[in-house]
């Protein structure tokens, strides 16, 4: 559905599922999924780092696939299902990737962690037993400036082991 707003940018009503809950919002045609999640729905666990798709801090799962939410328009997410970091634990029980990040020292400042964890989770969903190389490739679009990646890779591999 399209409505005319005062500005020249068209507005659209979008309906999407975020972490299992249905959300409806009136968004501008140029609103990104990232801004919709953060500014409208207050899912601030999804981080803003560059808004250019370079850093991966805004990674969410769109129908299970990891995407940079800064490169997806809110209207493109209409009718789809989004998982953010706030939706990964099951009733307070951490996802194995989250748990491994805590226990393996894979977190420092934590700003890249939500995106990293979701990239890791998406990898394990499509490939439950990845090699170290596959893990490194899966998170190559997620920049971390603190950890040197070593423990992040270890944590995702450990979560894969915990799966089996």
């Amino acid at each position: 559905m399209v409505t005319e707003a005062k500005t020249s940018v068209k507005r659209h009503i979008v309906t999407l599922t975020v972490n299992g809950d249905e959300h409806v919002a009136l968004v501008k045609a140029n609103t990104t999924l990232l801004d919709l999640l953060r500014e409208e729905f207050d899912y601030t666990g999804t981080k803003k780092g560059c808004e250019l798709g370079d850093c991966g801090a805004c990674t969410v799962m769109l129908d299970g696939e990891p995407v940079n939410s800064c490169l997806i328009l809110a209207v493109e997410a209409d009718g789809h299902s989004v998982t953010t970091i706030e939706g990964l634990d099951q009733n307070g029980k951490l996802d194995p990737v989250q748990e491994a990040f805590v226990n393996h020292g894979a977190i420092q400042c934590g700003y890249c962690s939500p995106g990293m964890i979701l990239s890791g989770r998406a990898l394990l969903n499509r490939n439950p037993h990845p090699t170290e190389r596959e893990v490194r490739e899966a998170i190559a679009g997620n920049l971390c400036r603190c950890t040197g990646y070593v423990r992040i890779v270890e944590a995702i591999l450990a979560a894969a082991d915990a799966n089996s």
């Binding site: 634990d89 020292g105 400042c109 962690s113 490194r136 400036r145 040197g148």
Partner: protein, 750 residues
């Protein structure tokens, strides 16, 4: 040896759970009802006089609430930690000196309106000759960027020990080289963000990701003409700092907008703005000369250091001093002369970045030492060890306290053990090489005067239920200080780490801890909370002793219980004693204030790194195959965190050595995105990255801990450079190591 129950254990970080659940709030995640969105108009020129700033088309725009220019700035109108020479806003008739200078601020009802509004501000610039290189700045007849700084010299400082000229003339072997380092960008994944508002008591609140809340409060109060007790600065979690968040970037603007609009105002920088605004690592040109006797004893070091300090003073004077003091490193060199200068240019301001001037010094020294060792025909490790300072000797850095043993031999041993064999080339297209570098990194011990480093306080309070809160203005920016302080307090008070809550970063809640920089917080704030918790413990034991009718000195606290050492009585719950203290009006709140008592300013430690590299002879590409870091960290309060610092720093160092270079052309940042400015990704890290530690206790650190956060930035880049030189058999002298220069070096050698 004393057994500790919490200190020395690799417990998971105390902020880990909230971080993996996405609950942690960073400055950009904060919001308030009625909040405005702010945008700054940054200068389009690096060097110009501002003839006109016309905001008339903006003020009437729908949704625009405030448009401020230099005329609206009260107080001094300038800021800076050492010299207050950076304008809050540049006004008509004044000069812009770099593209991070701002001309106007807009606050609007939405982000989109604010962004649109700044584009309607009209500015007339009158171009001024730009100074874009060190040579531009020093050229005869060059205009002065700051009228009170003739010759564009920001700092000129010398260090002289012995008779270096004579020693070099008499030395058997002399090597000489000039090294150039790049302008490194911190590239924290979180860009600068702030939310400011004036509260119901008229207090100006600034919530922002900062590394030194008290310094920000001081700088904002001075710049805007309000007393310091009317400014509260509070830092939520910081998404990476590395020095970039030590100084004001946007916080003064938000403070000003909040004062003028009386509404909450928020700003979060785009990546491009962040690249433009915050200070960078000083690019340096270091000409170094080393002399030694034929049998391998270093006799003299002479260096000329010149650095592009950028548009304003920033931290150049202290960064250059640290660089100077770091140059001689762990070696016994009797004759030294260092001549250091920082100059003003129209480039981004140079400031603090992990290592604070030391990494550039270590690079030049350790690269030149390799040349010297080769010239003499000695093994580079043996050469270094034989020149290392010995217990009881003094080092050239007179500010170092040298109160813990010279552990470099152990550090070097561990390095060699972990290194294994030098790699072999995979084929004719590959050259392989190995490089090492040694260092004596330092850390602030809480007495450095002038820039707020002197002394650190913290408060520890036990509540009546026995739970504990720690208040400190140390900053958690990923390095793990919240966990370290928790472990120290839990250890002293005999409580579980889960019973300790750490509240950080708020000037209205905690005493000054000084900057979270200079690898200092574990040492200084660790000592402060240890003192506070120690006093608290005594008071609790005294009250418990009264209750149990036992001398307090015969009691211990363990696992949340107080009982006699000899087990003669069953003891009492800590929470019960806390409640008794509450009833009796006994204060269970203690402030610890730590200031090292000795004349020295810095603690020291030792580190050594090794790199194995492969060089592609067709492309000149360098691949790091193995990195080993060996570090004397003192007592590791949390080994998991310690190793994490080493890993992260090693990879940041690899970026510095191989890919990171913030290019500026005519003062404009040309690599203002993360696709153009290349920080290492998960695919770039070495297949083998090893960190090993030696724990030679510091006699004055909390439980023997030393500072460590920055240290790895010193020896890793020269280890990589030396490895590439080893592989190609020729000198390389510039960071980052460019593939074309590697190819040229291979050609020269062929």
């Amino acid at each position: 040896m004393t057994q500790h129950s919490v200190v020395g254990k690799s417990i998971p970080r105390v902020d880990g759970l909230d971080k993996v659940l996405g609950r942690t709030k960073y400055a950009g995640d904060l919001s308030m009802p009625g909040m405005l969105y702010a945008k700054a108009l940054l200068s389009e020129r690096a060097s110009a006089r501002i003839d006109r700033v016309d905001v008339s088309r903006t003020t009437s725009m729908e949704g625009v609430v405030a448009v401020l220019t230099a005329k609206d700035v009260p107080g001094l109108g300038r800021f800076g930690v050492i010299a207050q020479d950076q304008p809050v806003l540049v006004g008509e008739g004044e000069e812009v000196r770099f593209t991070g200078d701002a001309l106007a601020l807009v606050a609007a009802e939405s982000q989109q309106v604010a962004e649109r509004a700044v584009r309607f501000i009209e500015v007339e610039y009158e171009e001024l000759p730009g100074l874009y290189t060190i040579d531009d700045a020093l050229r005869d007849g060059a205009r002065f960027l700051h009228s009170d700084k003739p010759g564009n010299v920001c700092l000129a400082a010398e260090m002289r020990i012995g008779e270096p000229e004579l020693a070099l003339r008499e030395a058997d072997v002399v090597v000489e080289e000039t090294y150039n380092t790049s302008r490194q960008e911190h590239a924290s994944i979180e860009t600068e963000a702030a939310l400011a508002f004036v509260d119901g008591q008229g207090l100006l609140n600034v919530h922002s990701c900062v590394q030194d809340p008290y310094h920000f409060a001081r700088d904002i109060s001075r710049a805007l003409g309000i007393s310091m007790n009317r400014v509260r600065v509070a830092s939520p979690a910081v998404g990476g700092g590395f020095g970039a968040k030590l100084d004001i970037t946007i916080q003064h603007w938000l403070a000003l907008l909040a004062m003028k609009t009386r509404r909450p105002v928020k700003m979060m920088l785009t990546r491009e703005e962040s690249f433009r605004l915050h200070p960078k690592r000083h690019p340096m040109r270091i000409s170094i000369k080393l002399g030694a006797s034929r049998d391998g004893k270093m006799v003299a070091l002479q260096a000329k250091v010149i650095s592009d300090g950028g548009a304003y003073t920033g931290r150049s004077p202290t960064v250059l001093r640290v660089n100077q003091m770091a140059l001689p490193g762990p070696y016994d060199i009797p004759n030294i002369h260092v001549d250091s200068r920082a100059v003003f240019t129209n480039n981004p301001v140079s400031g603090a970045f992990r290592g604070y001037g030391a990494p550039q010094a270590v690079l030049a020294r350790e690269a030149a030492i390799d040349l010297l060792a080769r010239e003499i025909g000695m093994d580079p490790v043996q050469f270094r060890l034989s020149n290392c300072v010995r217990d009881g000797q003094k080092v050239a850095n007179k500010f170092v306290m040298l109160d813990s043993p010279i552990s470099l031999p152990q550090v070097a041993n561990k390095l060699t053990e972990a290194a294994g064999l030098k790699p072999v080339a995979a084929g004719p297209r590959e050259l392989v090489g190995r490089g090492v570098a040694f260092d004596m990194p330092t850390f602030d011990i809480g007495v450095f005067p002038g820039i707020g480093l002197s002394g650190a306080g913290a408060t520890v309070e036990m509540l009546q239920d026995g739970s504990v809160t720690v208040y400190s203005t140390a900053i958690e920016m990923g390095q793990g200080v919240a966990t370290v302080l928790t472990q120290v307090v839990a250890e002293v008070l005999g409580v579980d780490v889960r019973d300790v809550e750490v509240v950080l970063g708020d000037t209205n809640a905690a005493p000054k801890a000084g900057p979270t920089s200079a690898s200092r917080q574990t040492y200084v704030s660790g000592n402060a909370v240890r003192m506070a918790a120690g006093n608290l413990r005594e008071r609790i034991l005294e009250r418990a002793g009264k209750e149990l009718e036992i001398d307090a000195r015969d009691l211990v606290i363990e696992g949340g219980r107080i009982f006699p050492v000899d087990g003669s009585k069953p003891g009492v719950e800590l929470a019960q004693v806390a409640a008794l203290c509450f009833q009796d009006g006994i204060s269970l709140r203690e402030e610890g204030w730590f200031k090292a008592s000795h004349g020295a300013l810095q603690g020291h430690t030792f580190m050594a790194s090794l790199a194995d590299v492969a060089v592609d002879v067709l492309t000149g590409t360098v691949t790091v195959k193995k990195l080993v870091c060996s570090h004397d960290t003192g007592k590791a309060i949390n080994p998991l965190g310690v190793i994490g610092q080493l890993y992260g720093g090693a990879v940041q160092s690899q970026g510095y050595a191989l890919t990171e270079n913030l290019l500026c052309e005519d003062g404009e940042v040309r690599t203002a995105s993360l696709t153009e400015y290349l920080v290492p990704t998960s695919l770039d890290i070495p297949p083998e990255l090893t960190a090993v530690i030696v724990e030679e206790a510091s006699p004055t650190g909390p439980f023997g801990a030393k500072g460590l956060g920055e240290h790895v930035m010193g020896s890793v880049p020269p280890a990589i450079l030396n490895a590439v030189c080893d592989a190609v058999g020729a000198r390389l002298t510039r960071l980052p190591i460019h593939p074309q220069e590697v190819l040229d070096a291979i050609q020269r050698n062929a």
